[in-house]
Assembly symmetry: C2
Amino acid sequence: MAQIKDVAKQAGVSVASVSRVLAGHAGVSEAIRQRVLEAVRTMDYRPDLAAKRLRSRRTDTIGLIVSDIRNPFFTEVSRAVEDMAYQNRMRVILCNADEDPEKEALYLDLMRDENVSGVILSPSLPTLARFRMSDYPFPVVLVDRCDRETNADAVVLDNVDSAYRLTTHLIEQGYQRIAFIYGTTSATGRQRHEGYVTAMATHGLETLTQAVPATVEAARAAAGELTRGRPLPEALVGSNGLILLGLIEALRAAQLQFPEQIALAGFDDLPWTRLVGPGITVIAQPTYDIGQAAIELLLQRIAHSSQSVRRVVLRGELRERESSRRRRG
Amino acid sequence: MAQIKDVAKQAGVSVASVSRVLAGHAGVSEAIRQRVLEAVRTMDYRPDLAAKRLRSRRTDTIGLIVSDIRNPFFTEVSRAVEDMAYQNRMRVILCNADEDPEKEALYLDLMRDENVSGVILSPSLPTLARFRMSDYPFPVVLVDRCDRETNADAVVLDNVDSAYRLTTHLIEQGYQRIAFIYGTTSATGRQRHEGYVTAMATHGLETLTQAVPATVEAARAAAGELTRGRPLPEALVGSNGLILLGLIEALRAAQLQFPEQIALAGFDDLPWTRLVGPGITVIAQPTYDIGQAAIELLLQRIAHSSQSVRRVVLRGELRERESSRRRRG
DNA sequence: AGTTGATTTGTAATCGATTACATTTTTCTT
DNA sequence: AAGAAAAATGTAATCGATTACAAATCAACT
């Protein structure tokens, strides 16, 4: 394997010149530039990244810590982050923390060991509550989850407002007994719950909620309970894609048709939401944009560590489908 | 930041001893071991990974190159790989090559630069055809795609057989004009096509196939064409999850009910396959197991570079649902 | 031509670990 | 108790780049 000194010898220059040419630094004559480039080409020289990283103290690597890559929301975010990262000659280290604060801490520690340039994190509730930018030797951008109080760069959906609009849509369609099933492990669920509550209150309606761990199974169980209660809710709303899936499974099990017997709506426009039943009304998140915005924010922060804290709030889009069709009678 | 020499000073030993203790090497007295460990603890010493990697020439990193992480099959495989990797104190670098041989080559080059311990790759057809283990300075395990001729460690589904069983199932249910829509960008689609053809031939039936790029859009278009033809096919089979999705969209657009007007079956048991319509018959792949097997194979190969080439073939499971219900008449 | 200042190039220190080899200490043998 | 063999420990070289600093070259202006 050729090293920088071999290239230097071949080109008849010093290693410093080779390094300068390759780093694109100014102050090197065109003649030397050409000779170095030629030598690099003929020898197929590849700088050793380990050496480079040791000496330069930069890794050009970013960490992405999500709860579970299998959640389609994070799949899409991760794809966006990876695309942008490679475009900027950076690497991505991906971790699944499973909403577990201990794993999150573990992986954040690992990021420190890796000396990453920055981290994109979707924190669980406990981690978010404790979060201080200054606790980490690298920039952190929060994604998907963020509190009003949190002082950190972040990219989130307008959760409260989206939930408000979704709930209001159902109310306008003539539904009143609207049940909201939401995940308790993340700030997202809480905020969407808040929007739901506000919308219901605005219209003088009573709320009906179930807080569950954000899993298909938990949502299915909760919805099962709700559908066994009397009077039956007129509509069910799930606070994210996994929960929505659980609701559908419960309706299947209870042999309830939607929207005829019970209306349905939720968050996350997944490939199947318009194919299940007559199509499901959802708030679509601009997932790819969220990922893109997150890494852009991170790259800016890496470049200018002292710039002011920014929060990017993206708007969810209401996609009306048959599952929330106007209530007859 | 504490370095190894600080720890050595604090513990009153040499840097070599510290290194030996931390590496878990034998031949160091219990007394020193304890003193070093104590010093490491009190100083919260973290070895610098860049330095470690430079000197030891090992990165404990593996590369995972898939076509697109948004394909649920690869999402699940990737999760398995990450889980196992972190359990073995290894990092994962994930790349999306979009079925593009050039991008695959690019990322494989990047893996060389990163000096990874090994790579898990799901190659496009051209890359697979050209694949030689000896072209790479690191072990490579193929996943999902592999030819009979390919001489490389690999983990794949029993594609031919699975497709044969799925097709035979439809035939046994009374279907004869069965159309097979398959992806041409990967070996997987071809092999499943082969199983379909064999099953049809065995029963003396004529084949009806459409080869498409493995995307939802292409599959939708192809299915649209098929459903406009007369006589209408009696059943549609998609060679993977994305294609299946495209087929369903096409049936929706053409307002064809399944299985009443046309039966449906495919590959990949995704969260929604039993929720769309009356449930869709599929071959379920043991995706997590596939990922797990791949990294196990890779770790073994890293440990024993000269062991004989292994191929792990996992069996797909036929999940019969209503979309392939027995044909009336 | 000589001096000054700017620009280009080269030499050698440095990043922070691992590890080959040398040295010291311990254990065992006779 | 002396000497040999084995085990433990330490010293210093090494991995392969970047970069601070020194040296050399070049240009411009008296």
